[in-house]
Symmetry: C2
Subunit: 165 residues, 2 copies
């Protein structure tokens, strides 16, 4: 089975990845809305800065801002839908570093850029390897709102047995 979002895009295997390569999201930017920020916050991060404009205006952010975990989630969506067309899907082995250099506010439009930093085959699992990727989430002014370095499990060519993720 092939995930829908990959249809029409060339799948990328471990052998295709090289340090320095940059993948940019091929889908429309994600539009951030006040309602979306609040809905996420009610479910997962119910703090004043994410829940209500008036309460948020009294915080250090000076207004409503998205939860960092919401920004991470929107980044995941951009990556899955059109950021990194990895064969087998996106499976994170872990995150090495994640920062939110500036807040995400209603009206922002987010996109992602992923740079390949390192590629290494797995010794114990010859059918796969690990790619270290730095994914930068950018707003409509090309300002980074999240910078994340993560290690992804990537299939080697010929090792297919359906989706990993």
């Amino acid at each position: 089975m092939m995930t829908t979002q990959m249809a029409g895009r060339a799948l990328v295997y471990l052998e295709d990845l090289q340090p320095g390569q940059i993948y940019r999201s091929s889908v429309d930017p994600v539009s951030v809305t006040a309602d979306g920020i609040k809905a996420y916050a009610r479910q997962f991060d119910p703090q004043p800065s994410h829940l209500d404009e008036v309460a948020a205006s009294k915080t250090l952010f000076g207004g409503l801002v998205a939860s960092g975990w919401h920004t991470a989630a929107m980044t995941a969506l951009l990556l899955v839908d059109g950021g990194l067309p990895l064969a087998g899907g996106l499976v994170g082995a872990g995150v090495e570093d994640m920062r939110w250099p500036r807040p995400v506010r209603p009206g922002d439009r987010l996109r992602v850029e992923s740079e390949v930093l390192e590629v290494r085959p797995s010794r114990s699992r010859p059918q796969q390897g690990i790619a270290k990727i730095r994914t930068t989430t950018l707003n409509q002014n090309d300002e980074p709102v999240q910078i994340m370095t993560s290690n992804l499990i990537v299939q080697r060519r010929g090792a297919e047995a359906g989706p990993v993720a």
Copy 2:
């Protein structure tokens, strides 16, 4: 304004934190359901392992599992609702490391434990400091499903001017 979830709990300031302290979530565990896993995935991480039992059974996970970003979100909820009663709320300066040592499946019940690793006052902002915290998310068998080391911005006592977050 005080956030609702902190009512009745003693607020913690930078001066109260010391390396080695452990805070455990004081609220009921979060119950993970198949519907919750799929709803999150449809919105933010639409991959077969998170969307559908049959498709998920063919992935390396062998069944439906929560997105790692969903686990991070449930962890945030546990922390905000009753994990770390920081004065001013929970404001992340960044994540240094985050891993998902085992999958989260339907029926799991999650709780958090946070250990204070380091505490340092800010030089440039005397009213606050940074605490390095390792938060472990555990399932009903006390097995870690997420281990995250993050740096949080924490208010100093007497520096209150409403919630930070």
